[in-house]
Symmetry: C2
Subunit: 281 residues, 2 copies
């Protein structure tokens, strides 16, 4: 590291970050993690319709920092929507330096995390800069920084025991990955799934799709993260998210392992794609 | 046909039908199509949480009428959600009589229509009894009946010219079919896609998934049906549904053929899965 610090790049492969949000996260990093240098790529603040710049601009920024030896991690500024539009293009342009760093994000960012993991890069599910806006969001950001800087095991989802590789996804995103060239082989993994702002019938529909996938049927087991902000179902769906999950795990012959400590909230924990011991740094 | 009439069975593989809705449709059939005998299976009116009866009950009703030689068609009472939960189970239990009839539905019903078509049964996208509740819905029901009873070509989507096989889907449903054992080979087909009540970013996300599928990339072309009741996007998405569709067709090398006359509305036209000339009756 050129200045003795752990340098972490922040880019926005999907939706745009507000500059004030970046400043709040910088302040936390300066105060709590003085050994970390956070570099927000200016692309984070661009706007092109729904996105933080058009596809080419977002792709260029991601490839630039991923291929830069100076950065030990690439942290996704925010989810929202858009990383699936650039994931294949990004993967075609990564060099060797991109293999020696960690990629951290979640939600929509899992389009990229999945593709990166499939191709042998180091990816993890966990809090992102935009989470600072949540109630308690400062803790989420500190948790992410403690993992990015020190691989602090306290930041990990607490059921992770190193016996199986792990992966974590938003259910809707995983459903949209099925059959694509971004989908990793998750057989033998403990798979953690969370959801936000989807009706119970849509959660059910995503899970039907997910458990239909042959490699997902070979998962070591599934844990259910939090399903938050569920709109009311008309009529009453008649099952809780956990009952829905247990039903489809039984149908598919996948062990249901209980709850996982992930979700679209400030409590969201780190879940490595694969094994923690294989992570660089 | 035992009483000289065209007998059509109505079952509800997904959401429940109100008895009054069935009565309105019966009245239209009696008046406008006296040669048709519509038989609403009592299962249509059952309720089990979100569904018109539990999975086993809906499956049994579907299989019963599909395997009944007396019926020339099975008409799906309603979409909503639930046919994907029973489609594989239904397909395992169909007999030869099930091959000599037509299956008509759309929206969520396409989980079944897709699986039926994949396995060589005769399926078509088109209006359903529940559509009678729409403004102008009586016309939608008459259009479906004219096709069910007489294969009236006036009911067909008007661009269908018999040169290519066709298929029609709600985008969200097609996205959820990708990678499953229900997904038919749609290469060389003209594929028509419509959507309802989804954000523009979700339409974009479904289309990214759809055009990633190898057999869909070999479609003869794509037509865009209506995208209705789109919630407002924050921020402005910056593209119309047609611009989104054209973009992804270009990326995937699929010819974009213009608009198609389908959607979640009373104007929704009939689109055979495959060729009209191959339909029974």
């Amino acid at each position: 590291m050129r200045d003795g610090k752990v340098k972490i790049a922040v880019v926005a492969p999907a939706s745009r970050l507000e500059p004030e949000t970046a400043e709040r996260v910088q302040e936390i990093a300066r105060t709590a993690y003085p050994g970390v240098k956070l570099v927000f790529h200016p692309q984070c603040f661009l706007a092109s319709g729904h996105f933080a710049g058009d596809d080419e601009t977002r792709m260029n920024a991601f490839v630039e920092v991923a291929n830069d030896e100076a950065f030990s991690a690439v942290w996704f500024a925010r989810g929202g929507y858009g990383s699936g539009r650039i994931a294949e293009g990004v993967l075609e342009r990564l060099h060797a330096a991109a293999r020696r760093k960690l990629y951290l994000g979640y939600s929509d960012g899992a389009f990229l995390l999945a593709g990166l993991y499939r191709h042998g890069y180091h990816a993890a599910h966990g809090p992102i800069p935009h989470d600072v806006r949540r109630v308690g969001g400062e803790d989420a950001v500190k948790r992410a920084l403690s993992f990015l800087a020190d691989r602090d095991a306290a930041a990990l989802e607490p059921t992770i025991d190193g016996k199986h590789p792990t992966a974590a996804f938003n259910m809707t995103i995983l459903s949209h990955l099925i059959g694509t060239r971004l989908m990793p082989d998750l057989s033998n993994h403990v798979l953690m799934l969370e959801e936000v702002s989807e009706h119970l019938y849509a959660i059910d529909r995503s899970l039907v799709h997910i458990v239909s996938d042959e490699t997902l049927r070979r998962a070591a087991g599934v844990r259910l993260g939090r399903c938050s902000d569920i709109p009311s179902n008309d009529p009453e769906f008649g099952q809780t998210p956990e009952q829905i999950m247990q039903h489809w795990c039984t149908v598919a012959g996948i062990p249901y392992l209980g709850r996982g400590d992930i979700g679209h909230d400030a409590e969201n924990k780190i879940v490595p794609f694969g094994f923690l011991k294989d992570m660089p740094g």
